[in-house]
Amino acid sequence: MSDDAHVNRTPLFFGVFIVLVGLTLASFWVANAEGLFALPQTKWQVMIGISTAKAALVVLFFMHFWWEQSWKYLLTIPTMLMAVILVVALIPDIMHRRQSYSETRLNHSAAEDAYGPAK
């Protein structure tokens, strides 16, 4: 680790922890707030944004990325790219799977018309 052992980072780490707990509560609040967002999709995006911010705080401070040298990019950026590409590659076959369902299969799958229109 490239950080200096003599620097007392306890207050910083504790502060980061408080922010992380605050962000967790913020997620909880966003999920339950009535009428805050017109679309659930917006709510989901905000919650994922909050999670990303939390993950970034953990990586930057608890995992010391803030103080590391540039090798960190070598290990993380290609990995993240692979991860994202994988998810994107799944979308046509998995996320849009119902578009290619036969009528028979649709009849036996969970469907919105089982309980009327989607809520």
Binding site: M1, S2, A5, R9, T10, F13, F14, V16, F17, L20, V21, T24, L25, S27, F28, V30, A31, N32, W44, M47, I48, I50, S51, K54, A55, V58, V59, F62, M63, E68, Q69, W71, L75, T76, T79, M80, M82, A83, V84, L86, V87, L90, I91, I94, M95, H96, R97, R98, H108, S109, A110, A111, E112, A114, Y115, G116, P117, A118, K119
Partner: protein
């Protein structure tokens, strides 16, 4: 050479500030020996590099899992993915577990800091606290799992009780389960108990037992009614009634409504209440219509019997026997009609009770541990992804805890600091995975 980066525990050869490889210099053209010097490519220890490479694979592993979950989750029609409450996931429990894991991330960082400063006892305390918090996380998780298991939410049959939609296949499964329950009851209960409890003959057939329902005034939750009473009562008023009616009704929409009501009675989804409320109202009307019809038949039969009774012929015994036989037939018909009226009334009672509870209706599976099949669209996919994601995460937590246990007996000074650092990096990664799992599983 970055000497600062190599204060750690790499082998001396890696530190070689002007280290001669292979013990040989090379003669240059001018005859002077040139010295090869080692240049570290990464300013971190080998252990940490290995750990980061491992974490890189872990990032892709969990990205694939979470990504698959996301595309499965959002590939379903709107409103058909099980809401957290329906699958007994409590949001605040998820938030609590997140905070527990975040706190453990801080404590392990503090352990590392203390170890670097040679405060071994302090480091041990922080590491021990991390271990406890990790155990707490797994304990909460285990408690959550037990909630799913007790409700029959498994990834696969035969343990899973979930059905995709309320159809005839579902109706048949409910009927089969009730049959199993009644058989089990008949097997275990003694004849005396059966007679005492249900007031019926030991060999109870569906129709016979239903005849006693009118005596069992309890609708669903009255304390004085025994389990056996409720079992028979609810079998007839739910699946029994639905089966008969679905078989007679030709309109598929009406059939579907009846099946929807059955599914709601057993395992309700509060979000469906607006739809079910309308179904219940129409169902009540249907029951009332049936009751009116049956009352007409009842009156006709009674009139017929009354017409026969006074016609006592002054003649021979043969005529008496004919009249008596006819009377027996009519009385049997009347008994069948009475029975149906009692069943229809019971059905009306149950419908009224569900209507009175409204969206607060908790369902038969909530009150009784009968393990009746439930309708949960996409429930099996949900269970598969939930158990896979949280299970693999829990295994990672467990591995971390084992590593903490192995590390704790050691002296946690500067020599142990790199171990703590690497373990902490792993632990933080586990924390990050949960940071994404929490909203995806509990809040979406």
């Amino acid at each position: 050479m970055n000497s600062k980066a190599n204060h750690d525990h790499t082998s001396p050869s890696e530190h070689g500030e002007s280290h001669v490889r292979g013990g040989h210099g090379h003669d240059s053209a001018d005859g002077h020996a040139s010295v090869l010097s080692y240049q570290a490519c990464l300013p971190i220890s080998r252990g940490k590099l290995a750990l980061w490479l491992f974490l890189s694979t872990e990032i892709m592993f969990f990205a694939a899992l979470i990504g698959s979950y996301i595309v499965l989750r959002f590939g379903v029609p709107d409103g058909t993915w099980p809401a957290p409450k329906v699958v007994h996931l409590l949001e605040w429990v998820g938030a609590l577990n997140t905070c527990v894991l975040l706190l453990s991330s801080v404590t392990v960082v503090f352990a590392f800091e203390a170890a670097k400063q040679n405060r071994t006892q302090v480091a041990k305390t922080w590491l021990g606290l991390t271990l406890l918090l990790g155990c707490g996380f797994l304990g909460i998780k285990a408690w959550e799992y037990s909630g799913k298991i007790s409700h029959g939410i498994y990834p696969q049959r035969p343990r899973s009780l979930m059905y995709e939609r309320p159809d005839l296949n579902y109706l048949s499964a409910v009927k089969q389960r009730f049959t199993e329950l009644v058989s089990a009851r008949d097997k275990t209960a003694s004849d005396t108990q059966k007679n005492k409890v249900a007031g019926v003959a030991p060999k109870v057939g569906p129709t016979e037992s239903a005849g006693e329902l009118v005596k069992v005034r309890s609708v669903v939750l009255e304390d004085h009614a025994s389990d056996a009473d409720r079992l028979l009562f609810l079998r007839e008023t739910t699946v029994g009634w639905t089966e008969r009616r679905v078989g007679r009704v030709r309109n598929p929409f009406v059939q579907q409504e009846m099946l929807d009501v059955l599914a709601f009675m057993i395992y309700p989804e509060a979000a469906n209440w607006p739809h079910i409320e309308g179904c219940l109202q129409r169902e009540t009307l249907r029951v009332q219509q049936e009751l009116d019809e049956m009352a007409g038949q009842q009156k006709t039969l009674r009139d017929k019997i009354a017409a026969i009774a006074p016609a006592e012929p002054a003649g021979g015994a043969a005529v008496d026997a004919t009249i008596a036989a006819e009377r027996v037939v009519l009385e049997n018909e009347l008994a069948a009609v009475d029975l149906q009226i009692s069943q229809w009334k019971s059905r009306g009672q149950l419908l009224a009770e569900v209507q009175a509870s409204g969206s607060e209706w908790e369902g038969l599976n909530h009150h009784y541990h009968w393990g009746l099949p439930i309708v949960l669209p996409n429930g099996n996919t949900w269970a598969s992804t939930y158990f896979l994601l949280t299970g693999l995460h829990a295994i990672h937590v467990l591995v971390g805890l084992i590593a903490f246990v192995l590390l704790l007996p050691r002296t946690l000074g500067p020599m142990a600091a790199p171990w703590i650092e690497n373990l902490a990096l792993y632990w933080h990664f586990v924390d990050i995975v949960w940071i994404f799992l929490f909203p995806l599983l509990y809040l979406f």
